[in-house]
């Protein structure tokens, strides 16, 4: 008996000690991080990853008074609540991590020339600044993460950095990028779409103008260094002679504006490559515009000047329209490129536009940039999205100059805004025109920006930095005049003077103490108690 037990226990001991085979199994179809980061090709492949975060088509103008979708927008009308999670917060940090990863690991490629390594680090630092800009615009100060974190990193529980610290970091990153990157000519056609040194400068101008005007109008910090930086960066882009305006404003957002021949596009998100090889396509026209997920408002429509350069309230050319077509008569040509009007090509099932379908386009207006009848049909558009155009650089130059000096010379206006006006078939903006007609220069510069960049997602952020959101956003959202002879009978709400009323002012509010910053996602505050919610949320 005892002997038997002894044998049994020996056998068990033997069995447990046994590990007959090695269970180690390694991946055979994926590369590991340890064996990567060797060649220039590795660095390029890693940097390419950053381009997947390039902003895509969106309906961000619905946040502003320029546009509205099928239903009211909580950011625009002030009804939103703090979300539990928010891609607007998470996504930039994913980009920032990917960028930090390259900044940390690119130097491992010791066999690659330093200037080449620096070039990819510069791309990464550009994208890191892009991520932080998107965060700062929304949330103000946020945690400043400059390295790849692990689950144990103390940085995860740190409080937010100040706005100024993040701005300083962005400037450093963008200056580094501008100094190390190639210009568009050096990049050539094969590398079209990669970030160039002018892209870094132009983006710096955008960031600095935002911060400078915000500081000025919110009375928060010294605006001068930022405005100066914006002016200098915009001037550097202009002086580089790498860019120029594209000939036709409407074609800028069509297939005619594709590729490197269009020197106006400084940063672009590319779609392609063909209908048979659909690597990346979008459905912005049909999905967002035609389906009414973003439709322009009366406020935007009214802002376009007449061909004499005067707003509709001042111009002798303006006659109260009696048809939808007359709304566009004698107006800035950019209006016809941004709004659909009777007679424009529309879609396969309705080749010629007459009036907007009020159950989709709630305002009775329909956007037109990127509208393409073939794309409507295929639902697979290849038209690239301009993320930063040379026109914006000209506008930044003019606005920064004006906000620095409280005046701007006719020469500077000719260098910038009047080039845009020439393309739009509008008379020049001059100091004389402003004084003669009782206009204000600031308002006209801002109007120019609104008209030129309409439907491209700028308006909301402009209202925020100018501190005019509290004035513009509580106004009602109106649409087109309800021309009874043209629109089919429909039950739409109208104002007493017969404009389509999409959202009454009683449903709209903007709390200046709260709404100039976005609420941090509730999850983030509970996961990191050191993070403090923005005021009022």
């Amino acid at each position: 008996m005892r002997k038997t037990f002894k044998y049994i226990s020996y056998s068990f001991a033997l069995l447990l000690g046994l590990s007959a085979c090695d269970v180690t199994r390694l991946p055979e179809t994926a590369i590991s991080d340890d064996t990567f980061w060797r060649s220039e090709s590795d660095l390029k492949q890693a940097a390419n990853y950053l381009y997947t975060w390039m902003p895509a088509f969106n309906t961000d103008d619905n946040w502003s008074d320029d546009a509205i979708g099928l239903s009211a927008n909580g950011i625009s009308d002030g009804s939103r609540l703090a979300p539990s999670t928010d891609a607007s917060y998470n996504t930039p940090y994913q980009l920032i991590r990917a960028a930090n990863n390259i900044i940390e690991k690119a130097p491992r490629a010791t066999g690659v020339a330093t200037d080449i390594v620096d070039r990819y680090i510069a791309e990464a630092r550009f994208f890191r600044a892009m991520g932080y800009f998107s965060l700062v615009q929304r949330y103000g100060g946020v945690p400043l993460i400059l390295k790849t974190l692990t689950d144990e990193s103390p940085e995860l529980r740190e409080p937010a950095a100040t706005r100024a610290q993040i701005m300083e970091q962005m400037y450093q990153d963008l200056d580094f990028a501008a100094s190390k990157l190639q210009n568009p000519t050096q990049l050539g056609t094969a590398n079209y779409g990669r970030i160039s040194n002018t892209a870094a400068l132009a983006f710096k101008a955008r960031v600095a103008l935002f911060e400078g005007t915000r500081a000025k109008f919110h009375n928060d910090g010294d605006p001068i260094p930022h405005l100066t930086a914006a002016y200098n960066a915009a001037k550097a882009v202009i002086d580089s002679k790498q860019h120029d305006l594209f000939g036709n404003y409407f074609n800028l957002f069509q297939y005619e504006g594709e590729g490197r021949q269009n020197r106006e596009n400084i940063i672009v998100r590319q779609y392609g490559v063909s209908l048979t090889d659909r690597v990346a396509t979008h459905n912005y026209y049909r999905g967002s515009i035609e389906n009414g997920n973003t439709s322009p408002t009366k406020a935007l429509s009214d802002s376009y000047v007449m061909v004499d350069g005067l707003p509709i309230t001042k111009s002798p050319l303006y006659k109260t329209p009696t048809t939808t077509l007359e709304v566009f008569a004698n107006r800035d040509a950019r209006m016809s490129a941004t709004f659909m009007k009777r007679g424009d090509p529309m879609m396969t099932t309705k080749p010629i536009f007459d009036v907007a379908n009020l159950s989709f386009n709630k305002t009775g207006y329909m956007f037109r940039k990127f509208a393409n009848i073939d794309d409507w049909n295929t639902q697979a558009s290849l038209i690239d999205r301009p993320v930063l155009r040379y026109a914006e650089v000209l506008l930044i130059y003019a606005e920064a100059r004006f906000e620095l000096d409280s005046k701007i010379s006719d020469a500077d206006l000719d260098l910038t805004i009047n080039r845009l006006r020439a393309r739009a078939g509008v008379a020049k903006l001059t100091n004389d025109l402003v004084t003669t007609n009782g206009l204000t220069m600031r308002e006209e510069i801002r109007r120019e920006r609104r008209s030129e960049l309409a439907q491209e997602g700028f308006r909301y952020w402009d209202l925020i930095r100018w501190k005019t959101a509290e004035i513009e956003l509580p106004k009602p959202i109106l649409g087109i005049y309800f021309f009874k002879s043209e629109f089919p009978p429909a039950t739409v709400n109208l104002t007493p003077d017969s404009f389509i009323l999409v959202q009454a002012t009683s449903f709209r509010k903007f709390d200046p103490a709260r709404d100039y910053l976005w609420p941090l996602p509730i999850n983030e505050i509970s996961l990191n108690p050191a993070l403090k919610q923005n005021p009022g949320w």
Binding site: L15, V23, R25, N48, Y49, Y93, L149, T349
Partner: protein, 693 residues
């Protein structure tokens, strides 16, 4: 022994490919090699062919088109072409001409057992080799179909045709060596000792290739594809697993039973150094009815057994864990355009979980088996408590981490439940045999620790510390608003809210409808709406046979379950092109204030927030199976050399009662959560004949 089977099922669609065929062959051979040595060979071959449409069926696919996409435009133009007018449903064209998705599975499985019995008395040695060789071939063709207007082609389904070929091969090898020794000491002490070793090796290989823009729309082959569009990829996944184990079994006169097991498992999926772990378990049993003192005192009890067990096992890491999750891998993709050409990129999408280790499942179980009246009535009852310790949890980290977070073995789930099983069988007269059985079980759980995950969202939450897993949360509703004044007087709901809209209750009285801080300490106006886990599962069987006739009815059901349909599927018109269903006609008007639905208008998402109103009660009882058969007396059948012939009717899911109320028929109580337009649930009826020679 050789046996073969064939099964064919036509799917729900009458047009286009939608069927499933299965053929299987089984071959069993036992050979006594020597006096002690025997070899048992079991081979099976299964061929399964699935034919389906090239497009998706669920969610926004074909079923959505059939149920909800406006069908006022016909499928065909007057000329008989497929119509593309408006946003017409194109399901017919897609099914009939849109191509196919063919999956062929060829499974070759074999198990070989070499057994050496009684070389020493009571000792059995076994070597078992199991192999699986399973190729799966998928060929899918997305065919171009023109959709016509009056005179011209308006648009296409699959404007660019595409042919996709997948070749998968799974190879598994499973080896076991077992030594089993049984011996007795005296009359009453029985022992059994088992020692074993197990090895498992698995390799999955997959090659995928695709070509678009084929020259011919009717001869799909890679050879005719546009070379610029050809792409391919390869995936290989491997894992290995081994364990050694021993079991000791002791039994005293069939009265006292004891068993102890210890095993050591090792898995390649875990981090080196953390792959091995030892798991012990033990159980005891007491056959009270075999005690001499028992038999006399309580005669009507024929069986009474008390059982208890405790054990630890390595957790079911299999499904939740990738094969190389502990390694720092990069992934490559090429859906990026730069310089107007397809451009690839390489990036890191997750942080490796460098300290991956075993999950431990610790179970404590107590049970009782009872038999009455010579075991005509039998009853079993079990109660168990289970702890999943060191559960793998995706860590909840601030978004500043910027990447999918690594997992850690730091979760703990407690679950507990009971099972009751009752069976009664008897006979009336000479020919009438009958049996009745009933079972009922319940399981509850509570997430004790999960990396501090305490976030609560409106809707479905799978993991919240301190609550069961898979819970539903939503707002409490109080009927509909009846006037604009009532909207004004209430807490702010949504700026579209008006008379006829769902009225939500502002539980915390802050004048707004919020989720508060969205965690377990402050979840604002949300209320707990139960779990989607079924509770009180029951089944009942009733069967009898009489003179060749046999009858069997099997009922099955769930006593409690919350179900939240996808808002897209329950709401009438979140977008203009969704056709309302008949059920949506019962909507609010001042004259119909207690309607099932609020006032209908396009895009009324605020009426379909997660709330108690749209959380359905998915308890049900279903006649899962009904069989009536008749066996022709063998006297007759023997004349035609047939041993046994039975004709039968069989019905599956013939009858259901559920707590869905008005939604019965629109949803099935067994529908998956949150899936829009799920493949429909079928009742099937069949008649058949079993013949054996």
């Amino acid at each position: 022994m050789v046996s073969a089977g064939y099964y064919e099922k036509q799917g729900v669609f009458k047009v286009g490919p939608d069927n499933n065929k299965r053929f299987n062959l089984r071959f069993n051979l036992g050979t006594q090699l020597t006096k002690h040595l025997s070899l048992d060979t079991r081979l099976t071959y299964t061929l399964e062919k699935t034919r389906s449409a090239s497009t998706t069926i669920n969610e926004g696919g074909i079923l959505y088109q059939i149920y909800r996409l406006r069908t006022r435009t016909p499928f065909f133009t007057p000329e008989g072409r497929y119509s593309g007018a408006g946003s017409a449903a194109t399901a017919y064209a897609e099914l009939e001409s849109g191509g196919y998705n063919n999956l062929d599975k060829n499974y070759f499985d074999g198990t070989f057992t070499l057994k050496a019995a009684d070389i020493v008395k009571g000792l059995t040695l076994r070597a078992v080799a199991g192999t699986q060789f399973r190729p799966e071939n998928r060929n899918a063709f997305l065919r171009t179909v023109p959709l016509w207007g009056r005179t011209s082609i308006l648009r296409y389904i699959n404007q660019v045709n595409s042919y996709r070929v997948t070749r998968d091969l799974t190879r598994n090898l499973n080896l076991q060596f077992l030594a089993d020794y049984n011996f007795k000491i005296g009359d009453k002490h029985s022992f059994s000792v088992l020692g074993g070793y197990q090895w498992e090796d698995s390799r999955f290989e997959s090659v995928y290739t695709q070509a678009n823009n084929l020259v011919s729309n009717d001869l799909p082959t890679l050879s005719l594809g546009d070379d610029a569009t050809k792409s391919n990829s390869e995936t290989i996944r491997t894992y290995a697993f081994q364990s050694v184990f021993g079991r000791f079994n002791y039994n005293y006169a069939d009265k006292y039973l004891f068993e102890a097991t210890v095993r050591q498992d090792e898995s390649s999926k875990l981090a080196p150094g953390l792959r091995k772990q030892v798991f012990p378990s033990a159980s005891v049993g007491w056959n009270v009815h075999r005690e001499a003192w028992f038999g006399n005192s309580l005669g009507f009890i024929s069986e009474l057994k008390l059982r208890g067990s405790w054990g630890r096992l390595g957790g079911a890491l299999g499904s939740t864990l990738g094969v190389y999750d502990y390694l720092n891998q990069l992934s490559r993709n090429s859906n990026l355009v730069l310089g107007d050409v397809r451009t690839s990129y390489i990036g890191q999408t997750f942080i490796p979980s460098a300290a991956l280790s075993w999950e431990t499942i610790e179970t404590t179980n107590g049970g009782i088996d009872l038999g009455f009246f010579q075991n005509h009535l039998q009853a079993n009852f079990d109660y168990y408590v289970k702890y999943n310790r060191n559960m793998l949890t995706p860590q909840q980290l601030p978004a500043t981490i910027g990447i999918s977070t690594p997992r850690k073995n730091n979760g703990e789930l407690k679950s507990w439940g009971w099972e009751l099983d009752l069976r009664y069988r008897d006979r009336i007269g000479k020919d009438f045999n009958y049996n009745i059985s009933f079972n009922l079980s319940d399981n509850q759980n509570k997430l004790i620790n999960f990396s501090g995950r305490r976030v609560i969202n409106a809707g479905f939450n799978n993991l919240i510390e301190g609550y069961p897993i898979n819970t539903l949360w939503g707002y409490q509703t109080a009927g509909y608003f009846t006037s604009a004044d009532e909207v004004k007087a209430s807490a702010f709901q949504d700026n579209r809210t008006g008379a006829g809209d769902v009225k939500y209750v502002d539980r915390n009285g802050d004048g707004r409808l919020t989720v508060g801080k969205g965690n377990v300490d402050d979840y604002g106006d949300l209320v707990y709406l139960g779990t989607t886990q079924p509770r009180y599962l029951f089944g009942a069987t009733l069967g009898f046979d009489w003179k060749g006739f046999d009858f069997l009815a099997f009922f099955q059901g769930v006593g409690q379950r919350s179900f939240r349909p996808n808002p897209e599927s329950i709401a009438p018109r979140l977008v203009t092109w969704k056709q309302p269903l008949a059920i949506h006609s019962d909507y609010w008007t001042p004259e119909n204030p207690d309607a099932l639905y609020p006032r209908p208008f396009t895009g009324a998402t605020h009426n379909y927030l997660a709330s108690d109103k749209w959380t359905l009660d998915a308890k049900y009882m279903r006649l899962k199976n009904l069989q009536v058969g008749y066996t022709i007396p063998s006297k007759l059948t023997q004349k035609v050399k047939v041993d046994r012939a039975r004709v039968f009717f069989s019905g599956q899911d013939l009858f259901t009662i559920s707590g869905l109320g008005a939604f019965q028929g629109y949803y099935d109580p067994e529908t998956r959560n949150g899936v829009e337009n799920d493949y429909p649930f079928f009742a099937t009826a069949s008649v058949g004949l079993n013949v054996s020679f």
